[in-house]
Every structure is written in C-alpha cells, then in structure tokens.
C-alpha cells in the first residue's frame, strides 16, 4: 500500500466525504453513525451492503429517514429525527443498547470531532469554553466501545490550524480510540506505529505533511 494522491481536483465535498467513508465500511458490518454529518454516510451505503445500523436509543436495523405517513413519534434516531425500521429490526432498552456498544459488538462507529491526536485520542464533546454547557450523550461510550472508530471532519479549522494535533487541547472523549480519520483533504490510518496517509485529495503528500505538526508517513 502506498499513499494514493488524488491531484488535479479540489478537496472532498461533504457528500463525497460521506461516500468515501461508506466505501470503507465492510459488508455486513454492525455500524453506529453519530449525529450530524456521520448520519449522511447511510445515504451512500450500497443497497446490497448488508450493513445493519444501530441507534443508541435502542434499535438495530434502522432504516432511512421517515417521510410523510411513515413518521411515528415512537420511532426516532439518536438525533431525535423520525426514521423507519427495516425487516429484521429489533428493539431493546438503553442498558442493553450501550452494553452492545461497550461490549465490543459493533464493528464500526463514525463520529465527528473537534480534534484527533496522533495517537488516536478523540475530543468531540465539549469545547471547554467557560460558558458552554457540557453535554456528552453517547459519545464516550461509542469512542471506547466500537471495534473501529472512524472520525470524519474537516482537516483544518477556519483559522487554518490542523485538527489532527500532537495532543488534544479540547477536553477528551476517549484515549487512543480513533482508528481512521476521514477528512476533506486526506484519509489517515492511526495506530501504535503512528499516522499513515492512505489518500490525499487536492493536495500532495509532501505539501500535506508540511502543513501538519503531526509526523505522518506514506501509507
């Protein structure tokens, strides 16, 4: 494997990024998609993927968003939006739902992030701002529970600083838990040996490496 550089194009758009994450989810996997952008990954899974979606509020076999007559106030996702059930779905209470997560029974979860560190620490629940009301939801349970944690985010903040950092400065969600980082400019694999760049989009490896404080290797 070597780094694939997609040049002669710009960075990935939001939908393109969701499609790339969907591409890398193994067939038949049990998957939890976090609130917000990760939820859109579901729209890009092939019809025959066999992927079974888990929602933290007690369901396996979650289907697409409910429309019109399908809307049922008793059937919502983690973002509290109405969804549908697929054949073979099941319901369970909250302690079981999180036991499923914490017990390592989910193959992949996809989360957003403020920062990811070189060793896979995740910060995605709290900015640490003094007036911010802390709210963690299921983020910490997912971060340490799923067999693989995929994070999707923009690589650079609005001020141009990288969100892949040597050490997280925001409050942590979980330690050494992120296995893959999907960004608009590059896809990173994280492990005990450090950070490797699997793909770049609209930027070459050398320029990317020069813009990061975290040492990265060609994949």
């Amino acid at each position: 494997m070597s780094t694939v550089e997609h040049l002669g194009r710009g960075p990935l758009g939001r939908e393109e990024l969701a499609a790339v994450v969907a591409r890398d989810i193994p067939r038949g996997a049990f998957v939890n998609l976090g609130i917000g952008q990760p939820t859109t990954v579901a729209d890009h899974l092939p019809a025959d993927s066999g992927v079974i979606l888990h929602t933290e509020n007690g369901m396996l076999g979650m289907g697409p968003a409910a429309k019109g007559d399908e809307v049922d106030p008793d059937l919502i996702n983690a973002g509290k939006l109405p969804v549908t059930e697929l054949p073979g779905a099941s319901y369970f209470h909250h302690a079981d739902s999180f036991a499923m997560m914490r017990g390592g029974h989910l193959d992949v979860c996809v989360l957003g992030a403020y920062q990811v560190s070189r060793r896979g620490d995740l910060a995605n629940w709290h900015t640490g701002a003094p007036d911010a009301i802390p709210a963690v939801g299921g983020a910490m349970d997912l971060a340490i529970g799923a067999k693989q944690v995929f994070v999707m985010m923009t690589l650079f903040a609005k001020d141009g600083t990288a969100k892949l950092v040597p050490e997280c400065t925001y409050p942590l969600t979980g330690l050494a838990c992120v296995s893959r980082l999907y960004t608009d400019q590059a896809i990173f694999h994280l492990g005990p040996d450090g950070v490797t760049v699997a793909e770049t989009y609209g930027i070459g490896f050398d320029e990317l490496a020069a813009r990061l404080e975290v040492p990265v290797r060609r994949g």
């Binding site: 509020n57 106030p73 008793d74 509290k80 369970f92 209470h93 709290h126 009301i133 963690v136 330690l175």
Partner: protein, 224 residues
C-alpha cells in the same frame, strides 16, 4: 399489588420533597408527559431528576424545571436546540448538573435495580468526567468506578400494561423505561392501553409486574 389508576394526581400521590425522580424518555419518545404534569401539580420540590435530556421546549420536564422544583439534574445531554429553560437556570447558577455518559447513566440505574454495589466501566477513563473517581487498570485497560443511581420514584411511559403491572413498549419509546422501572422504590407507568391479565403474551413482556407499583391509564383520562 399494582394499582391501576385513571387520575394522574392520584398516581403521583406521596412523592416527597428532596426525592430522586427517574424520568424516562429520549427526546419526546417514551416521555411520561402526563405524569410529569401531575408531578408539577403535586408540588414536591428540591428534587433530583435523572433523565437523558434536560427538557425540551416549555412543556413536560422543561415545565418542571421552570417551576423551580429541581435542585439537581443528572443527565447525559442537557444541551439541545430547544433546552432554553435548563440553559437559563444553569447559566444563572440555579441548578446543579451532573453529566454522565449515556451508557453509564443507564448502567448505573441497571446496577441499582440489580443490587450491584458499584462497577468498573471503561467509558470516560482519562477524560474530565472521570476526575475524582477511582480508576483501576483491568486487562490492560483503564476503568472508572461507578456507583448505582437509585430512584425514590420512577416515572415512565409504556405502550400497554395489564392489570398485574406487566408492561410492553413500542419501538424506540422503550429506551430508559425498563431500566428505570427496576431502579426506583416507587415505579409509576403511564400506559396508552390497559389490558386484562392474560392478554399480553408472556414471551413478549418487557417489564415484569414485580417492578411496577402504579399504572396510570391515560386513555381512561382522555375519555373522562
């Protein structure tokens, strides 16, 4: 013996000041709104409320908070687009907040209901939510010691209940209901349908009647 009631105020009788009240629901799914409204009328104050969120809009739990009856909120996700009542109280320093990871919140109540004294849990290890808590390394992984959350009262919503108190739920409205039912000294369930003993398939009962003290028949209330 489970009491089957049609009057919400009777269902809430006896809740004391200073109680810990477990309130089911995730968003509005499974939210026992009729019981919460009755708790507001009942008047108990200085409450500790345990619920996943800290109220939405101006009704239900948000109305209980707005009435100034809650001293402390224990929840996983207080901040939402429509949690302005809680946000205002919190910023004014008028309510205490204990944020607990969602799975740990559920498991702490499960432990209370199951007679577990405490448990080591990997969630939150190394994060600000583990500060001040005992941590132990088990099989090479850090775990945080977590204690049960026991309720004086649980308010939950279920789809149907029989006259013995057995409950079934509907879709994702199940959420915290079955766990909270086990974790409180007094469990009160509002149900959309009361059925006769024997009408529920025993194989499908989710909350066995031993956990349920009072059932409020919300359909009967509508008809009256």
């Amino acid at each position: 013996m489970t009491a089957i009631l049609t009057d919400p105020d009777e269902a809430l009788a006896g809740v004391e000041d200073g109680s810990t009240v477990l309130i089911g629901g995730f968003g509005m799914a499974g939210m026992p709104v009729t019981l919460i409204d009755a708790l507001i009328r009942q008047g108990a104050k200085d409450l500790t409320v345990v619920s996943n969120n800290a109220g939405n809009g101006d009704t239900g739990l948000a109305a209980l908070l707005a009435a100034g009856r809650v001293r402390k909120m224990i929840c996983s996700f207080p901040r939402q687009s429509d949690s302005w009542v809680f946000d205002g109280l919190y910023r004014a320093g008028e309510i205490e907040l204990e944020v607990v990871p969602q799975g740990t919140l559920a498991e702490r109540m499960r432990a209370a209901g199951a007679g577990i004294g405490a448990f080591y849990c990997p969630t939150g290890a190394g994060t600000p939510l583990a500060e001040g808590k005992e941590t132990r390394t088990i099989d090479g992984r850090d775990h945080v010691l977590e204690y049960p959350i026991k309720g004086d009262v649980a308010l939950i919503a279920a789809h149907a209940g029989d006259r013995l108190g057995n409950l079934v739920y509907r879709k994702t409205a199940r959420n915290f209901g079955p766990v909270m039912a086990t974790a409180a000294a007094l469990t009160i369930a509002q149900v959309s349908h009361v059925v006769e003993v024997g009408d529920l398939d025993p194989e499908t009962v989710v909350t066995p009647c031993v956990y349920v003290d009072r059932i409020l028949d919300t359909k009967a209330g509508e008809a009256a």
